[in-house]
């Protein structure tokens, strides 16, 4: 078992942060390559289609699960480790536990990818498609990560526990519960399983990726802007309101379904309540960044700014989508796909990039090329704007076609140009990830590049 005697120096924390980032990046490139392939199938349905493992219905869950559990999960846990150690003025509790966790994350994602390709899908229940034993491996990775984060913060050299760690440790622990609830079968028959799906699919996003990404923001923004967070108390308030409101909103994925009407209405009410932590958190970040536009230029802060705006707009959009009147138009259309990309990409992915560009060079003392960072930023930003714009407009057209009682196939032909634009946006996003991968290499294992200016000595808290 892991021992508490760790070699002194920053090496373990740095190495863990580096290797987690490298693994996450490999998953990002793979999962989004699949995404591009999927987007092309909308325009060219006969493209790469005669083979069972290349069929749309098998590749789609590979794209979503590898994005979630390969890219975002591994990337965020790597950041969480670094932030836990640095904000606690200590080193990571156990390198071995971190490596074990990383191995489990990767084994789960590799096994999940292969089995989904073979057509082993645990019921096409979104984001829990992996066969359940594979999800147990992922759960083990979560438990290992929670243990390591807790033990790191427990031996902190500071009086307070910095806010970032509230979010990251909370997120990992809550997600252990989500994973268990999703796996146990006794209350998941027929309509009962629909209720669990509604709960699961939103909690797996909002109590896993959201708190970890917010944890990164609470640490990275003060670092990048050299000033403490605007209001620590507001951050604590957002933490508790997020925790209490978020678990209740899941059923808004099943409005107008045979789920009990009170469950649907409760979900709508709390979807509105979510504006409190979302606007509170966003205001806190934006007020911390205010008045320092010079810090944005050619800086990882650009990614952080887009990430905060993605959080603000994506989550607010989510609240509006939960209204019955708007669901009548947008539910079941491609609008929803635009929303999920605005949040998972415009918010979560940009925050990870901001965190990696902002913090990894502090760990490795190797800075990326600022031109290449800029190319990554602009391709990803333009790409996601085209992507979300196309699907939002197209999804609205689709919904109105249905409301106007046109033959169903009309809504398919009307989507054609929007699906093409989506593929254009998606391709730009994918290409930007190749640039990111190069930059990650530059920040970790490339030789040369020891040109980082000394980190500014300003504490996060």
């Amino acid at each position: 078992m892991p021992s508490r005697t760790i070699p002194t120096g920053a090496d373990v924390t740095r190495d863990v942060f580096s290797v987690y980032t490298v693994c996450a990046t490999i998953w990002l490139v793979f999962a989004t390559l699949i995404g591009v392939l999927l987007s092309l199938k909308f325009a060219y349905p006969d493209f790469a289609s005669h083979t069972s493992w290349l069929t749309f219905g098998r590749l789609r869950p590979i794209h979503t699960n590898d994005t979630f559990y390969g890219w975002a999960s591994i990337g965020l846990v790597g950041l969480a480790y670094y932030i836990a150690a640095r904000s606690s003025r200590t080193e990571l509790y156990s390198g071995r536990l971190a490596w074990l966790g990383l191995a489990l994350f990767n084994v789960a994602a590799i096994a999940g990818t292969i089995t989904l390709g073979m057509g082993i899908n645990d019921g096409t229940l979104e984001y829990r498609e992996w066969w359940w034993p594979i999800r147990l491996v992922f759960l083990a990775a979560l438990i290992v990560s929670a243990w390591n984060l807790l033990a790191t913060v427990a031996r902190r050299d500071t009086e307070d526990i910095y806010l970032s760690n509230w979010y990251t440790i909370g997120g990992v622990l809550w997600t252990c519960i989500i994973a268990i609830v999703a796996i146990l079968p006794w209350y998941q028959h027929g309509l009962g399983q629909v209720a669990v799906s509604g709960y699961y699919m939103h909690n797996a996003v909002g109590l896993w990726f959201t708190p970890l990404a917010l944890g990164v923001l609470y640490y990275a923004i003060p670092k990048l802007f050299s000033r403490p967070i605007y209001s620590y108390a507001l951050g604590v308030f957002a933490f508790w309101t997020n925790l209490v409101f978020y678990p209740i909103i899941g059923s808004h994925h099943f409005l107008f379904s045979p789920l009990p009407w009170w469950l649907q209405t409760t979900a709508i009410v709390f979807s509105v309540a979510m504006l409190v932590p979302v606007w509170g958190g966003s205001a806190n970040f934006l007020l911390t960044m205010r008045g320092q536009p010079e810090r944005l230029s050619r800086s990882p802060a650009m990614f952080v700014l887009v990430g905060v705006l993605g959080y603000l707009f994506g989550s607010t959009q989510g609240t509006f989508e939960a209204f019955r009147s708007l669901q009548e138009i947008w539910h079941l259309t491609n609008y929803t796909v635009g929303h999920s990309h605005l949040t998972m990409y415009g918010f979560i992915s940009f925050v990870i990039w901001g965190g990696v560009y902002g913090l990894l060079p502090r760990a490795t003392k190797k800075a990326p090329d600022s031109l290449l960072m800029g190319i990554h930023f602009w391709m990803a930003t333009v790409g996601i704007v085209i992507y979300v714009g196309a699907l939002s407009i197209g999804g609205t057209v689709q919904g109105l076609d249905w409301i106007h009682g046109l033959p169903f196939i009309q809504s398919v032909t009307d989507m054609a140009p929007f699906w093409l634009w989506r593929a254009v946006g998606g391709s730009l996003m994918f290409l930007s990830h190749l640039v990111f991968a190069w930059n990650v290499w530059d920040m970790t294992y490339a030789r040369g590049h020891v040109n980082l200016e000394a980190p500014r000595a300003v504490e996060a808290a």
């Binding site: 909308f42 219905g57 669990v196």
Partner: protein, 327 residues
């Protein structure tokens, strides 16, 4: 208690309570939902087909939930809780890149069509973007005894040999054809806005008929034809040779008396030989899905398109035919 225990333990406890309240408890209660009247478990073959449906991710583009909204009425009556008693894993879905399948066994009961559509969706619906499932079929030199090969139109057929379904394709089609909503005793669908306007149009039509001149709503006829008839008889009205009969120049479609045409649309058709060709498919009955005026509009479209030029039918004639005892 330490700060860390308070924050981590406290928040986790709060979350655990909420997870039980919002996830586990509703799951427990709703798992006990009784099957609705007439809702039956699947047969072993249909069950196998459902597994094929899941393995290939069909529900990423096809929902199985009809919402109590006017726009969803084309897919059937609103789904009720009792419909899902045997539905584990649940396949409600979240996106409709393709149509809802709750009632596909009623809307498209033809096995022949389902096989062709799975082998290559564009062979029957040219605009379709559905993936082909040709990997569920085999190409053989000659079909074994007792197996009917698929009648694939030229551009989509393999160069040599014939196409026959594998067991997986057979099971999948069995599952799809099992997708029929059970009738809820005493339930009648509320009048929806589109049929309300159609009723007004029908009133106008019948007064026109009284004046001795039948007419129909051409726009509605074209739209209804596209939604209900086109996937077999094709937009060209030419059908698919040997599989789905043409409407262009067909004797029933061009007869002066539309009664037989009305009857076929109301009650469906199977096993008829037309012009010396025995058609294997099954045409669904539309009596339960289309109103009198809607059927009159479809007939109007068919009798005035593709060079057809025959007397129209009125909603009153459809109503009269509907009132006759079923054959």
């Amino acid at each position: 208690m330490s700060k860390l225990t308070l924050i981590a333990g406290g928040s986790t406890l709060v979350y655990a309570v909420l997870a039980v309240l919002m996830g586990v408890l509703p799951g427990m209660v709703l798992s006990r939902t009784k099957p609705g009247p007439g809702v039956m478990p699947l047969t072993p073959l249909q069950r196998e087909g459902r597994d094929v449906f899941v393995a290939n991710g069909c529900s990423y583009c096809h929902t199985q939930q009809v919402r109590p909204l006017a726009e969803d009425a084309v897919f059937g009556r609103p789904s009720s809780a009792g419909d899902y008693a045997y539905e584990t894993p649940e396949l409600l879905g979240s996106e409709r890149n393709g149509p809802d399948l709750t009632n596909i066994g009623v809307r498209q009961p033809s096995e022949v069509w389902q096989y062709m559509h799975l082998y290559n969706p564009r062979s029957v619906v040219p605009q379709s973007i559905m993936p082909d499932f040709s990997f569920l079929f085999e190409v053989v030199a000659k079909a074994p005894a007792g197996v009917t090969p698929l009648a694939i139109p030229k551009p989509y057929a393999p160069e040599h040999g014939v196409v026959i379904p594998t067991r997986k394709a057979q099971a999948l089609v069995a599952y799809l054809l099992s997708r029929k909503q059970a009738t809820i005793p005493g339930y009648s669908p509320p009048a929806t806005a589109p049929s309300g306007t159609a009723a007004a149009a029908a009133a106008a039509t019948s007064s026109a008929t009284a004046a001795g001149k039948a007419s129909f709503d051409a726009a509605a006829g074209a739209r209804l034809f596209a939604a209900n008839c086109q996937s077999c008889h094709q937009a060209s009205g030419e059908g698919i040779p040997g599989v789905f009969p043409p409407l262009k120049g067909d004797p029933v479609e061009t007869a002066a008396d539309p009664t037989e045409q009305i009857s076929i649309i109301l009650h469906g058709l199977e096993g008829k030989t037309i012009g010396g060709v025995a058609y294997p498919g099954q045409m669904p009955a539309f009596a339960a899905q289309l109103g009198d005026d809607e059927i009159a509009d479809i007939i109007g479209h068919e009798r005035t398109s593709w060079g057809n030029n025959a007397p129209l039918a009125t909603a009153a004639q459809v109503a009269a035919e509907r009132a006759k005892p079923a054959h």
